[in-house]
Symmetry: C2
DNA sequence: ATTAATTTTCAGTAATTACTGAAAATTCGG
DNA sequence: CCGAATTTTCAGTAATTACTGAAAATTAAT
């Protein structure tokens, strides 16, 4: 398989995967392109390689920067901005976990705390089932939170050795 | 807060969360409704409570069954089908991990194996960066796979105690 | 300060995804 | 086997989400 073809397939699959992960296709494609590009790219480079408009590139790069997955790079003597993506996949994964925890898990747990204060008699089957569900989610969330914190703070070696140990 | 209000908020938030997880809003809402309902519901119950059409309910329940999150229940002497969702959130989480591993991680790893066979000189910066990215993803995927297998096979107690141990 | 290069915004539009509702298929009691 | 109850399908449509391109804003060289 030729490099150009392989690149194309990687970008397209990474993009499709993004849609299963709550990220839009194009954002994931831009990320894929930057990951496999040895040198930083400009907005025009991305426009050309993915065949998308300037506005689209601009918005998606901004989102990627918000996610902490892409950085602006200043190139000496150049007026244009350049962009590069973190190439260490372990760092990428940790960054994504960190952000999703903040954006999704934390607010969900706050809501569960609210909902566990619902009025009503625990003898009522409706109330009991509701509270049991909420309480299960709270417990689960607390443990998931702890585990994810460990992963986020860990370095690659820790993760490898733990994974092996657990797997026996 | 009244139960009806709390239920409504739970369903709506669980639905919104679904969209961040590659699941459509309605499917997550149906799942939420079934989780907090003490007894199995019919398609008509779901239609009434969520204000959605019969076709929509039918399709989403079928998907939930495919995901292993909802079961058909036969009620003695009733012609209609009833549906219920797994109430143990640990089992729900394990089931989701198992399915996503099968649907997303496994095919992604297969593709990486393909792509690592790309032609070209490893001295070429373009080729090298591409292969390094692929190889990083392969290594990461293998470890994630192991860890997730452990979680899927574990029971609740194992997960709790491990989480605590890791967190120190 | 002027102006050219570059980035950002966003109204309008395109593309995608989800939903409805009625018809077709299936199931099951009699 | 017939017919009523129920489930399933899917063409048409609605709702949502993503993208374009041009205008506005910003930046920086002279």
């Amino acid at each position: 398989m030729k490099l150009s073809e392989a690149k194309q397939q990687f970008i397209s699959t990474w993009g499709a995967m993004g849609t299963h992960w709550g990220i839009n296709r194009t954002m994931a494609q831009v990320h894929a392109l930057l990951m496999i590009s040895p040198d930083p790219l400009t907005q025009d480079d991305v426009m050309a390689q993915l065949n998308i408009s300037r506005g689209n590139v601009n918005m998606n790069i901004r989102d990627l920067i918000d996610w902490g997955l892409v950085d602006r790079v200043l190139i000496q003597g150049e007026r244009k901005e350049y962009f590069t993506a973190e190439k260490d996949i372990w760092k990428v994964a940790r960054q994504i976990i960190k952000e999703r925890k903040k954006r999704e898990l934390d607010p969900m747990m706050k809501l569960m705390d609210q909902l566990s204060k619902v009025d009503g008699d625990k003898k009522d089957k409706e109330v009991k089932t509701f509270l049991d569900t909420i309480s299960g989610i709270k417990k689960f969330g607390a443990h998931a939170d702890s585990m994810l914190d460990v992963v986020v703070k860990s370095d690659e070696n820790w993760f490898i050795s733990t994974a092996l140990k657990l797997f026996k």
